[in-house]
Amino acid sequence: MSFYEVLRARAGRAAGLIASAAETDVLRALSEENPNEAAFRALLSPAAVPRLETMARRAGELTARHFGRTVSLYAPLYLGNYCENECVYCGFRHSGAMERRKLSYAEVEEEGRALADSGIRHALLLTGESRVQTPVKYIGACAGILKERFGSVSVEVYPLEAAEYAELVRAGADGLTLYQETYDETLYARLHRAGPKRDFRYRLDAPERACRGGMRAVGVGALLGLADFRREVFFAGLHADYLQRAYPAAEISVSLPRFRPQGVGFAPGARVSNRDLVQAMTALRLFLPRAGITVSTREPAALRRNLVGLGVTRMSAGSRTGVGGYAAEEKSPGQFSVADSSGVEEVKAMIRKRGFHPVMKDWQTF
């Protein structure tokens, strides 16, 4: 069994079923304590839009019950930008004319110190996809260096084998984030023109391999804007649900990254409004009461402020998306442009002002 089978069985009909949900379906979904898959579709449907306030209240209440009045903070740390893939929307793509580099171990130490000094205790390590330039051994060594300063070190790197995830766990990593980008297999083939990333299924099954490899926290998501958000969020939610059921010991989360300009002249295929994003977040919360929901600095400060209390449990703060961005001024262009450039202290103050507690440390690799 793989999530691929779950996806394939629904791929043809999901969009139609979501679009055709009626008001009664939405009301029924809202009255259920544990909304099922059909209810989740209804909550994501256009028919649910008039009920957004009710959904938001339910989502806020559920989130408080299971996560408290808290938001955990983390920050990305880019290790390298070498990449063999040709993703039409990405600033790191292989054909892009940019300076390529990766951090030396001494620079990793330096970056870690600078990031830790900002108060961040949960780091997310990123690379492009290059098994030659940034092999698993290198990523593991970086995790090993950084685990001394951070309670949690997660990775957002190219898909690996289960044994390789296990190797990273032994090295000190405890979490994986991996976006499928789009759950539409045909569109996926068009957007990912060359490189190992063309293998849709290998990527799709990677979060499951991470669970098998012993990763404690595993996050999935779609890059919103590539395709119709309702269908994408539906499958991201089902993916998380599948993982939660198959690997109950893992902490499963969903991210809601919206497409940001990367300076590559790519025009996204679908518009995702703030209202759409709120519907996605609240529907996810009602369907998956205990799943983490992550919002990054891809979103502007004003919107992030308003999302606190609606279901988000984790936010990035003070993010630099270039390689070596913390120890010095940005040394290389970022993977995407950050919309919320607030510093860590500003983000903490914003969260407090909303009546929530910014949690800097909520894990320790024991």
Binding site: A64, R65, H66, F67, G68, R69, T70, G119, R121, G151, R216, Q244, R245, P248, A249, A250, E251, I252, R290, R352, G355, F356, H357, V359, M360, K361, D362, W363, Q364, F366
Partner: protein, 255 residues
């Protein structure tokens, strides 16, 4: 009448224990602990950041409390044991609340792993308070493994559903010679009062206080409810009569 509550020979001033997670601010947590009168407070070791100065949750716990670390995040006995030892090394003392939870969908504990961890840690001199699914046979195993009390769940963590395991709690209270501390799922002061009326030695609450609009106010309300429930139990009304009937064949065969 003096009503002394002891765990592992130590006199505990309050039968209301408070968890420190989920609060909207450190200050609100401090105020809630004060208003609760709690003598025992639990802290997730995963949240403790010893190097964070005022960002360290421990620095916001008022003095004079027993800080009982919990093993939140442990999925099995080995992880729970590791966390407990780290807590002790960090100077957190000998009290430990064991949480061994391999299920993040419902946050239900694994009794088998909990019993294993209890045995290991009790032998190392910890005062062990295991969180578990209320089951009499497992409660006895926990006692035999060296638990200082048992902490059955009232309802799954964070659900606020009250004492949904009522019948099982009553059996534990009547059959076990250890303090029964009802933990998790108590959403309202009346739930806490109910648990105490059933004969629980104490209750532990976190979510319902932390996420209320006024954590200190809610902490005080719970404290009053715990006192009321205890008083009712001692007075022998209601719940106590049910206990007296426990000599009926239903639980009699267990003796």
């Amino acid at each position: 009448m003096e009503d002394i509550f002891k765990i592992a020979g130590k006199k505990i001033r309050s039968r209301f224990m408070l968890g420190t997670g989920k609060f909207p601010s450190d200050e609100s947590m401090t105020e809630a602990i004060k208003a609760s009168g709690a003598h025992v407070v639990t802290v997730a070791l995963r949240r403790v950041d010893a190097g964070a100065g005022s960002g360290n949750i421990l620095s916001h716990i008022p003095p004079g409390r027993i800080v009982m670390p919990n093993t939140s995040g442990a999925r099995n006995a080995a992880e729970a044991v590791r966390i407990a030892r780290l807590a002790r090394e960090a100077g957190a003392g000998d009290w430990i609340k064991i949480e061994a939870i391999p299920d993040n969908r419902h946050l239900l504990p694994d009794n088998l792993e909990t019993i294993k961890a209890t045995g290991v840690l009790a032998r190392e001199g910890f005062i062990v308070m295991p969180y578990f699914n209320p089951d009499l046979a497992d409660a006895r195993r926990l006692r035999d493994a060296g638990a200082a009390s048992v902490m059955p769940l009232g309802a799954p963590i964070g659900t606020n559903k009250g004492v949904t395991t009522r019948e099982l709690i009553k059996i534990l209270v009547s059959e076990l010679d250890l303090p029964v501390v009802v933990d998790a799922g108590l959403g309202r002061p009346s739930h806490a009062a109910e648990a105490m009326e059933l004969g629980a030695a104490a209750v532990l609450v976190n979510t319902a206080v932390a996420v209320s609009g006024d954590p200190a106010g809610m902490a005080e309300a719970f404290a009053l409810a715990v006192k009321a429930g205890r008083r009712a139990w001692l007075a022998g009304a209601g719940a106590a009569r049910e206990l007296a009937e426990a000599s009926s064949p239903l639980t009699g065969f267990l003796r």
